[in-house]
Every structure is written in structure tokens, then in C-alpha cells.
Amino acid sequence: MQSTDQTVQLSYQSDFEKFEQGLNGEKSTPRHALRRRAFSKFMEMGFPTSRHEEWRFTNIQPVTKTHFQPVPANQAVSISLADLESVMLKDVIRVVIVDGYFSSALSDLKDLPAGVVGESLAAALKQNRPEALIHLGAYTDSSENGFTALHAAFSLDGVFLFVPGHTIVEKPIQVIYSATKRNDPFVAYPRSLFIAGDAAQVKIVETYFGPGGQAYLTNAVSEVVLGTHAVVEHDRIQLEGENAFHVNTSSVYQQAGSAYRSNCITLGGLLVRNTLAARLDAEGIECRLNGLSIAHGNQLIDNHTLLDHIKPNCSSHQVYKAILDGKARGVFNGKIMVHKDAQKTDAKQTNKTLLLSDDAVIDTKPQLEIFADDVKCTHGATVGQLDAEHIFYLRARGLDESEARDMLTYAFAGEVVGSIGIPELREQIDLQIHSRLDRGRKGAV
């Protein structure tokens, strides 16, 4: 296996050489120097293995033994809005990213309020937008692992959103990351930067979507910055194709009195790793992280979260749930770090898993590291099956067994879906959940 991995690593090296040649004049810029550094870091580290503590439960060999080719810039976009209909929300400001590149043709930004910037990240960097230059990469360590290093080396585009201070964006902003059909396995490296200025308010929906059957990898990095008293709802719904791999690194940075709420719904993909880290770097911050994974067949969904309490008087509330059927595997690793200065921290973590089959497996690991002495930190994990008495109660009132199971399973998911503040998105997710529970029950992959 080692030799296969090395062969793949060498393929990435020749990809990078070709990639550099395509960059022409950009090759001598400081930004490119960062890319080269990130790439040599990747060559040095390689991909993580189960020997790395952070990847202990997740065997990523299916990803590392395949050579995923980067998608060159400026390729003709092969999809239309009609292809995205099942995931497009109606009443939103829409951004579409295709195979990692911002598509002006498919995006619709006309309802952005005055002063709000929403554009291609590449364009924002080209124009030297100060907010982009200050924040980009400031919260995600590209040398964290092989995936973040590759991302830093290859990523060229994505979305840049800047909401100036005291601005409220009424309509949600939906970013659809769509993969296309291609002959060979490919990788998209979308990068997104969302900035909410002081007392700004915005709802961001990130939707990941791709064709069934296609083997591809989405290696995505998103950064969210909240100014003082900013309020951000950040919903992520992941509907990648059933042969897709998805590695997501999201970093959130919060300033005083800000409120961040993440609802991370993971339904698609064969092997999924979500890393979400929130840094609470001032007082009076509120952070809520909700997660729901639904997996069947041979899916593996790994959620790693980090709540980094740096300053006093902040609260974090975390509820992650998983519904696993077939031979699906789930991983939840929830780390809460309370620094020495972070007195009066109030952190609560809950992880609940519903196993619908005997072969489904969950690895759950709370990880609390507390260096302050006046804090309230709680965590709890439950793993269980549907309650036979509940099923009997519903059947005794006339529901058939599968209806009863669906209703109870859906009820388990409801707490997370219910915390999404966009009714249209809740409905879309409801439909997706019901169709996936159906598929899971019929034993389809």
C-alpha cells in the first residue's frame, strides 16, 4: 500500500508541475511562493493514515490510492441551472461554483444589498481587496494535513463574500458547489471566504452537489469571520454523488458578542470528513454547532469539531446526531479546548447516534481539555436503536411498521433540521431525508 500511495503522490507532483506552467506570470508572485511551500509540505507529509490520532477511526485509503486530477481553470462549464434544480433554493442570492471555479453565468447576485461584495475569490484577490488579503488563510493552517496542504497548493477560486458593518442581508445566500461528469477521477478545490462585519447579519447556505456514479474528490476549505456582534447562520447541506469523496475544512473566527450557528447536514458521499473549528477569541460570544449525518450502504461520515474557547464568558452548544443503516460507519470527535483565560465558559456537547442495522458502527469521542478553573463543560453521548415500545405504540394506532420506523427516525433528525432558520431549506432537507431513509430501508447503496 505504501508504494501505491507513493506512486499517487508522484502523480500529484507531476500535476503540480503542469499546474505551475499554466500559471504563467503568476509564478513569481508571493502567493505562488505559498503554494510551492504548501506543496512541498504535502510531499513531506503525504496523506494522513490511521496512525495519526486525528484520523484514527477513518481509513482514507480509498481516497489516497486514487489519483484525482486537478481541473484546469477556464474550462467550458458543462452544466446548466436545470441540472441544479433539485438543490436550488428559490428565494435566495445564488452563487454557483463548478468543479471549484466561480461561474458568473450560473450565479445570480443582483439582490445583494448595496455595499455587500459577492464575487469570485480569484477576482477579489486579483483586485487586492484588503478584506480578502487580510483574512484569507488566516484561520486555516495549510500544513495541518495532506489535504489542507494540497488545497493550499492547487486551489485557485471559490467565492468571496463581504458584508460590511451594520448591514443586514435579508435573503439567504446560497453557494452551490457542483461537480460535473468527467472521464477520469478528478478533484475540485473550492475555497470560500465569508466575512460579516461588525453587527452585520447574514445567512449562508453551502450546498455540495454532484453526479451519481462519478468518482471525484471535493477538497474544500471555507473560512467564516464574524466581527463584533455579527450574527451568522451557516447551513451546510452535503449531497455529493454516491461515489464521491468529500474532505471539508471549515474555520470560524468570532469576535466579541458575535453569534454563530452552524447546521451541518451530511447525506451524500462515500467517504466524508468534515473538520469544523470555531475560535472564540473575545468575550460574550455564542457558538452553536449542530450536525446531522445520515448514511447507509458503505458510507463513512467523519465529523471532527473543535471549539476553541480562548476568552472568558462565552458559550458553546453542540448537538451532533447520526443515523446509520447498512454497513455505514460514523465518527464523531468533539474537542472542546478551554484556555486558561477562558473563565466562565459554558460549553455543552451532545452526540447521539441511531443505529438502524446490526452492521452499522459509530466511533464517538468527546475530548475536553480544560485549563480554566471556573467553567461549566458537559458532554454526553448516546448510541441506540429505535425503541420497540415506540414502534408498537405507533403500530397499535394504525401505522404500518415502515411508517412507524420512518416517523421515529425522522423525529430523531428533527431537532437538527428544526434549528435551520430558512423554511425553504428545511423543506428541501425533509424531502432528501425521506428519500434517503427509503433507499436505506430498501438496502440500496
Binding site: D387, F392, Y393, A396, R397, G398
Partner: protein, 254 residues
């Protein structure tokens, strides 16, 4: 044809025989009370009739509306109009009470060849039934039984019964845990639902519910057999004298 005919029913749990030959016939328009000491098999009988799978039927037949009851699964029994009011109604977090009830009612209606009710008609129906059981509308939008008091849970059972309009209702210890006001409300509800087109079996340890719901027949269940049947006066006698004299009478007879 009788509504329910139980013939020589024997059933066991984990190899322990609980029901040892029950014979019982219930006709439309009748209310039967089944009384007995703890452990006599009352709840087992209710559970066997509703289709609880913890019990194994080893002998006997049950005909319900002319059909072999044991050939029907629990939901088919419910759709055929059999209703069990649970002794311990379960709390089901996340399942909205009225959403669940609408699904249940429409499953029953569909089976009976009736059109499914839309949201408006359903709301009209359940509001009228809420009044019957003096329940607040706020119960509709709460998860089924979650955070309900003991009395509220039992009222919710009778509310479900009122909405589903069953042919045969089995009330399993519905009076346990009820204060006197709740008991009267529950009994009033059952009495209002009583008609020539339906029947009830009331399983209880105490006679007090029978002060409000007057049964046509009272049966005494001891050690898995009905050892004595009589009128409502039998219930009063059991209340004052306890169950021991019946046990002794039975022992002498054997």
C-alpha cells in the same frame, strides 16, 4: 355474530404461562370490566389482543368481527377498529401529537375505504374531540406524551380513542394514576363515545372507575382464568371484600 369471541386462550411470556384458558364473548353495545389482583394476567390479555409480540399464544382462538385475530398484525387490528389505551403511554420525543394522529387516522380511513382527511377537516375533527376530553389545544403541537403528567397521558389516550373512533376499545388500567377530577373527565369521555356500534373492555384493579362507567358485565381474572362473572354489583363486592374470597371459592370448586 359476536364482536369478540375468545375461546380457551392460553399465552406465555418467556416460557411462563400467564393466561391459562380464557373464555370471553363481547357483543356490540356492551362494556365488560375485567378485574383481578396484580399478576393475574389482565395486562397480558390486553397485550395479546392488541398484538404485543412479547407474548406467545400457545392455544386457543380469538375471533374478532369474524376474523382470526392472530392472522392480523397490530396495525391491521387497529385499522379493523381495535384500540388499546396503554397502561403506560410512551413518550415519543420529536413526534408531534397531531401530526402522528393525522397519519394514524388516515391509515385507518384508507383501510376502511374512506377518503383521507385534509389538514382543515382534520383540525375541525380534533378540535371537537379535544372538547370531549377537556384538553387544551396546546397538547396538539407537543411531542406525543413528552412531558405530560400521568393524568395528561391517560387523557391523551382517550383523545386518540375519540379521534380514531374504534369498534372495540381496551382500556388497560386507564384509571391508575388519575386524580378524581381526571378520572371523571376520562370516564365522561368514554361514556360519550359509548354507542350501539362499539364495545369496550375495561381492565382495572380497582372498582372506582366503574362508579362512572357502568359495565354490563364484570369478570374476575385470577391466575390466568376468568373465575367469576357478574353484574356491576360484583365489582362493589370486590372493592369491599378484596380478591381473596374469590380465590378461595375457586379453590374449593376445583
Amino acid at each position: 355474530m359476536s364482536l369478540l369471541e375468545i375461546k380457551n386462550l392460553r399465552a406465555e411470556v418467556n416460557g411462563n404461562e400467564i393466561l391459562r384458558g380464557i373464555n370471553l364473548t363481547v357483543n356490540l353495545g356492551e362494556i365488560h370490566a375485567i378485574m383481578g389482583p396484580n399478576g393475574s394476567g389482565k395486562s397480558t390479555l390486553a397485550g395479546v389482543l392488541a398484538g404485543r409480540d412479547a407474548y406467545t399464544v400457545t392455544e386457543g382462538d380469538v375471533l374478532y368481527r369474524g376474523k382470526d385475530l392472530f392472522s392480523l398484525n397490530p396495525e391491521e387490528r387497529a385499522r379493523e377498529g381495535l384500540f388499546l389505551a396503554f397502561q403506560y403511554p410512551v413518550e415519543i420525543p420529536g413526534v408531534n401529537n397531531s401530526y402522528f394522529l393525522k397519519a394514524a387516522l388516515n391509515a385507518v380511513r384508507k383501510y376502511r375505504g374512506l377518503e383521507e382527511l385534509d389538514a382543515m377537516d382534520f383540525l375541525k375533527l380534533i378540535k371537537s374531540k379535544l372538547k370531549l376530553i377537556e384538553m387544551d389545544e396546546s397538547f396538539l403541537n407537543r411531542p406525543v406524551n413528552e412531558g405530560f403528567s400521568g393524568g395528561e397521558k391517560k387523557r391523551n389516550e382517550i383523545f386518540h380513542m375519540a379521534v380514531l373512533d374504534p369498534v372495540l376499545s381496551i382500556l388497560d388500567e386507564t384509571d391508575s394514576g388519575l386524580d378524581i377530577d381526571a378520572l371523571r373527565i376520562v370516564a365522561d369521555g368514554v361514556n360519550k363515545l359509548r354507542s350501539k356500534e362499539n364495545a369496550s373492555i375495561i381492565v382495572t384493579h380497582y372498582q372506582r372507575l366503574l362508579n362512572y362507567i357502568i359495565p354490563d358485565v364484570v369478570h374476575v381474572l385470577v391466575d390466568g382464568r376468568i373465575v367469576k362473572s357478574g353484574t356491576k354489583d360484583l365489582a362493589v363486592e370486590l372493592e369491599s371484600r378484596g380478591y381473596d374470597w374469590v380465590k378461595e371459592e375457586t379453590a374449593q370448586a376445583v
